[in-house]
């Protein structure tokens, strides 16, 4: 109740005093006003006690009007004025209380705006509640829709609920936590029976956290004095709960959105990962893109690369002996062997063409040669395995050429293909097919050799020049015998000088000299089929003779 004394009212320069004085003057009354203890306050200093009338406020006497018979009127007026002042002050206090609530809501909103995760929001909420409402402990409980269980994201003060008993008596807490109600509980029997609440807790106050579609949980405070919570406390708590609910709901939605966005990103990443297996990343990268989705019809780039072709000799007759399924298995396991070797040496497979593979080595010609040698060795190992199982063995030819190449996207708007187009590709393919002609396992062009910094590290033999039918220029080709059996490598190294001499004679049409050299070579190394080939060829040329313009250049025909 606001303090209100008569002295208080009379001493203020306000309407009360003015009104009273004008009334007294008008009535020409002789009055004095005293407090409840008869001390003078206002009016005539000479106090006449002919008439005495009390001034009352809420059934209590707070002063006296003493004087003539008109004191009655003055007393009535003052009583009325006091009552009005009293009511005014009461109203003022109520408004102030409401204003404090407004201030609290504003402040709480400000604080909530600082957090975007549910745990922080729960913590801010329970801290604010404990700040405004006296309690020994407080918790926020939330229902986790995904895991179908009750969570406690924030707790302040001593543990409100005994965790171990909570697990087995969750239903008691669920009743409060998901009731959707707000209330004060003074009868804690149910909670005590379930053993989840401490003995010193005497009363519990809680408010529901809910949004339009669902009940999310509740904020629960506990006090150690019985009946300590009033309706005003509940009002505060529900106001906090209301604001907190929408903040938590937004936070949960935000988390969900982030989660889903990450999942979508992951799904897209997996798609890109898979597309890279169909169109190699190197291809896309060469066109200047990071992702396949940027590629468009007509994109192209010219690069200098080494092109490598592999082919299984006489595969046609081999495949006739197998069922389609066996064929597929065969080619599959072949590809699975060769693929990793190519990638290991920084090449990438442009195409699988049945029993042939076309690979590109954009960075290093040397790498392609090393890869070729390793691939041949792998086939030797494969053949050894096949023999133990009485299965057929294979022979593989590899050809390499280096030159400019255009990589691009061709097709039509609804069907695209990553294509490589150039002479370089055709030449490389034909060089590979020459491996049969020369009975060599690996052939490379002089253009490829030019790119190799240390050719002396590789076992190479010059075999002469070749030319595409109808073209003018010819290119030299070399055999690499580094992948042959160890014995062969040693023998071919030994006979290298002789062989080279033989080639020299052969190209200069001195076939007799050539025959002599190649004969010596084949005598030392009976298994050198290339030398044997040149021997036979030289003998034929000597026998039949060659035209005037013969230069030893072999014409490369279509496969």
């Amino acid at each position: 109740m606001p303090r209100l004394t008569l002295k208080h009212i009379l001493s203020k320069k306000n309407d009360t005093e003015a009104l009273m004085h004008s009334l007294i003057n008008e009535m020409k009354a002789h009055v004095s006003i005293t407090d409840e203890k008869h001390n003078y306050l206002s009016g005539n200093k000479e106090i006449i006690t002919q008439h005495e009338h009390p001034i009352k406020l809420q059934e209590e006497i707070i002063g006296w009007v003493k004087g003539d018979e008109k004191s009655n009127y003055v007393a009535s007026l003052l009583t009325l004025l006091m009552q009005k002042e009293f009511e005014r002050k009461n109203l003022g206090n109520e408004v102030l209380t409401l204003y404090q609530e407004v201030n609290m809501v504003f402040n709480f909103s400000d604080k909530l705006a600082q957090a975007i995760d549910p745990v922080s929001i729960a913590e801010i909420t329970v801290n604010e509640a404990m700040h405004l409402i006296r309690a020994t402990s407080g918790v926020v409980v939330l229902w986790d829709e995904n895991n179908k269980q009750l969570q406690i994201p924030a707790t302040v003060g001593e543990d409100l609920f005994s965790k171990k008993n909570l697990a087995s008596h969750a239903d008691v807490l669920l009743k409060i936590g998901l009731s959707g109600q707000s209330d004060i509980m003074n009868d804690l029997t149910a909670l005590r029976d379930a053993g989840i609440i401490d003995a010193k807790i005497q009363t519990v106050i809680y408010a529901a956290l809910k949004v339009k579609h669902r009940i999310m949980g509740a904020i629960i405070l506990a006090g150690d004095k019985p009946m300590q919570y009033a309706a005003s406390d509940l009002k505060f708590l529900t106001t906090l709960a209301l604001q907190s609910s929408s903040a938590i709901e937004s936070a949960l939605l935000y988390e969900k959105n982030i989660r889903e966005a990450l999942e979508r990103e992951e799904a897209i990443r997996r798609v890109y990962e898979v597309t890279a297996k169909f169109v190699p990343y190197e291809f896309i990268g060469s066109l200047g893109y990071k992702v396949i989705t940027d590629v468009k019809l007509g994109d192209q780039v010219e690069k200098n690369v080494t092109v490598l072709f592999t082919d299984i000799r006489d595969y046609t007759s081999l495949s006739e002996q197998m069922t389609p399924e066996e064929n597929f298995q065969f080619v599959s396991s072949y590809n699975e062997r060769m693929g990793p070797i190519i990638r290991k040496h920084k090449g990438f497979i442009n195409q699988y063409l049945g029993d042939a593979i076309m690979a590109l080595f954009p960075e290093s010609a040397e790498a392609s040669l090393i890869a070729a040698i390793e691939m041949q060795r792998n086939i030797h190992a494969f053949n050894a395995l096949q023999k133990t199982k009485n299965l057929p063995t294979i022979k593989m030819g590899i050809g390499m050429h280096t030159g400019p190449l255009i990589m691009g996207i061709t097709g039509d708007k609804d069907r695209l293909d990553a294509t490589t187009i150039s002479d370089t590709v055709n030449t490389a393919s034909r060089i590979e097919s020459l491996t049969k002609h020369y009975k060599a396992s690996i052939l490379l062009s002089e253009k490829t050799l030019q790119q190799i910094q240390h050719p002396e590290n590789f076992h190479l033999r010059y075999l002469g020049k070749v030319q595409v039918k109808g073209r003018h220029s010819s290119i030299g080709i070399y055999e690499c015998f580094g992948s042959d059996e160890e014995e062969q490598v040693i023998k071919k190294d030994e006979t290298l000088a002789l062989f080279n001499e033989g080639i020299h004679h052969y190209l200069n049409k001195s076939f007799t000299g050539a025959i002599k050299c190649f004969l010596s070579v084949t005598e030392i190394n009976t298994e050198d089929s290339t030398a044997q080939f040149f021997l036979d060829h030289s003998m034929r040329c000597l026998q039949k003779g060659v035209p005037e313009n013969w230069s030893g250049v072999v014409e490369m025909i279509n496969k």
């Binding site: 606001p2 303090r3 208080h8 002050k89 003022g92 206090n93 408004v95 102030l96 204003y99 404090q100 407004v102 201030n103 504003f106 402040n107």
Partner: protein
């Protein structure tokens, strides 16, 4: 010397609320004065010399910033402690408040405890 507090706001309920908040000071001898616009506020300040003024910023005729500037900069009445009151979110006013010489800056809705505390502090009660 008699202690006076001047409350300046064009909204009557705000004037009433501040008076209500500071009510207990009345028993301690503080006199409350009110003004509903800047012009009247200036007159009262010059006539009555209040020690503390609660000054709303957003008012018709002459706003709080202008009043503050006149009092602090033009008239150089340094014994008057001015608390500027403004709606939350008008943080720019803080800067301007500094420029016109305000002593303290509070936002509305105000915290009644803060108002009372500041009054006691300034008046030494």
């Amino acid at each position: 010397m008699e202690q006076k507090i001047l409350i300046v706001d064009d909204e009557p309920h705000i004037r009433m609320l501040i008076e209500q908040t500071l009510e207990e000071l009345e028993d301690e001898g503080v006199e409350f004065l009110t003004a509903e616009n800047g012009e009247i506020a200036l007159e009262i300040i010059q006539e009555e010399n209040p020690q503390l003024v609660f000054l709303d910023v957003m008012m018709p005729k002459m706003n709080g910033m202008e009043v503050c500037r006149k009092v602090k900069k033009e008239l150089a009445l340094n014994d008057v402690f001015i608390v500027l009151l403004t709606a939350k979110g008008q943080e720019l006013d803080r800067q301007k408040g500094n420029e016109v010489g305000a002593d303290v800056y509070m936002t509305k809705p105000f915290d009644p405890e803060a108002i009372l505390g500041k009054a006691r502090e300034v008046l030494g009660l």
